[in-house]
Amino acid sequence: MTAASGSRSGPGRAERRAAARGQPAAWRLAFRDWRHSRPFLGGLLVILGGVEILLSEEAPLPLVIHIGLQGLAGYLVPLVMVLCGVLLLFHPVQQTFYSILAVLLALGSWVTSNLGGFLAGMLLGLAGGALAFAWQPPGPDGQRRPHRRRAPDEPSSAGLDLVRGPRSGDAGRGGQAGGAGPGPGHPARALGVSAVLAVPLAPLAASVLLAHVPRGPAGTAPWPPAASQGPSPAAAGQTPAPATGSPVPYPTAPGSPGGSPWPTGPAGRGPVPSPTADPTPSPPGTARPSPARRQHRHHRRRAAAAAPRVPVPGARTRLSAGLAMFTGLSYDGVARVRTPAGVVLMVKLRMTSLTLSRVRLLAPTGDGGSAVSRDVSFGLTGDIVLYAARISGRAHGVRVTFTPRQPWQGVRPDLVLTDLVAEQPFATADSLQASGLRIAGR
């Protein structure tokens, strides 16, 4: 309908204007001829649909490739749609194939690509594909028939004849004058059945094809399956695959229910054979258990504490809390912790519970920015280990600092600090409750 009105008014206006100026608008006529010798509107809508779906995704590509084949299919389907649209414009001889493929891809994009670009791209693709399928080349006299039905002598397209077979083809040709006769019911039904059958399987077939592609460099992998996806609807129609369940043989992550692949913490209770653990008790004089701490449970630990097995980020991380309540606190010694800037000495504390209120966590992103959590309350329980390059705060109003060079003598099992600041903190805990979590980038 749009096609008809567009092609009716457009050239008419051009001719009027050309006539008014007394000269033919040659390029307009040439463009009109070009347009009418191919399924212009259909191809254009298919391209627009594919582009709309791509725009709705626009994810940072490395992330998508990490996520796997399914993320990739999300891009492949609209890309091949765009390709179909372009081919409809520049290779209209194969319009039947390209238009059916475009319709199937548009339907498949519902599954693979943001619900078909939130419906809009899918509908554009369906409309475009159907328009391109319905388009017919101009007759031998070169006359265009913008909004008339096909003339009886006009050859019907090879594609539909293939679908229809000779009998229904004749019926369609004979019954044209009075509009839609009963004849075309057969092709419609045949097409409908085949389309409905093939549709849920098209993404499946695409994914199966994709799954067989070796995971090569990201740039090269997509295209061969894209090209070979062409005949897939036909092949998919024969595959007795169920349309239920997850459509893609995506290698799901080996589920490790409950148990972390990680040991329960870098500083598990057992002896941790950490290569970075300082074999020599560093600052010897100060880190030895002082008489004041001797009565505490963990006082017999060596001053050289086991370092976390994982590297800890750079110097800008900072955790501050208006109020910090430690329970079962003990000082484990000094650990040598790997950071991007080299090994850093850190104090290591253990505790059984830690409550932090009015927490502000400044976290660098590693490439210049930082994210901030504000006004959170943290409740950590279980086996808690805390490393930090420096801890400061106030105990009963008295300012205290705690560094590897200057371990604080006043560690008690139950400690309350106000205005706590921990620099380069690294903590592990069995559980963490964060209420009022608010994170914002800056």
């Binding site: 619900l115 939130f118 992550a253 991007p340 992103t365 380069q424 963490l432």
Partner: protein, 190 residues
Amino acid sequence: MNWRRFAAIIVPALAAAAVLVLLTAKSILAVSFSISGTPFTITATQLKGRGFEQFGVVDTSVLKVLPGHTNQIVLTANAIRSATIRDLCQSVTLGGLTLRITAGHGGTPASATDLVVDADRLSGNASFTHIHIGQDASTLNQVPGVKGPAGGFGQQATTVTIDNLRQHAYATTAGVFKLPGFGLSFGRPC
């Protein structure tokens, strides 16, 4: 233009599209999401996940339309290996029109695998088990294949539960998304 040919293909295609929508709403068919560049809001009354990672990333917007920023923005990447989401609501505003997707009401929550959301604002009440806070973002391993930049702050946990989750996000990807009780409407943002 042969309108019978047009009908021959558009009718079954629209029927198939309706079937797809129906299958999605019945949670039989899983769909895949990948959005970026347009800010959107996600809310949920409860999100439960196994395998959680969080780290900061600096995203560069392709569109260069972020107000008050150049075209760089600091986002928190939240990755969950497998998640179930109750009362999921996701809204995108495109050109003054707000599209709203809801799912997971009532008994069956929505579910997702390999869900990564890059949010610039996140709020909720969270609890984690076996958490590591302050680990280098490039060494996170709770969600296979998802890692942050080296030298960045990261945290990870074996399980996560977030109540009253609200995220304002710029990018999300998910391997498989199941949306029972799927609803698509135009209206108010979440």
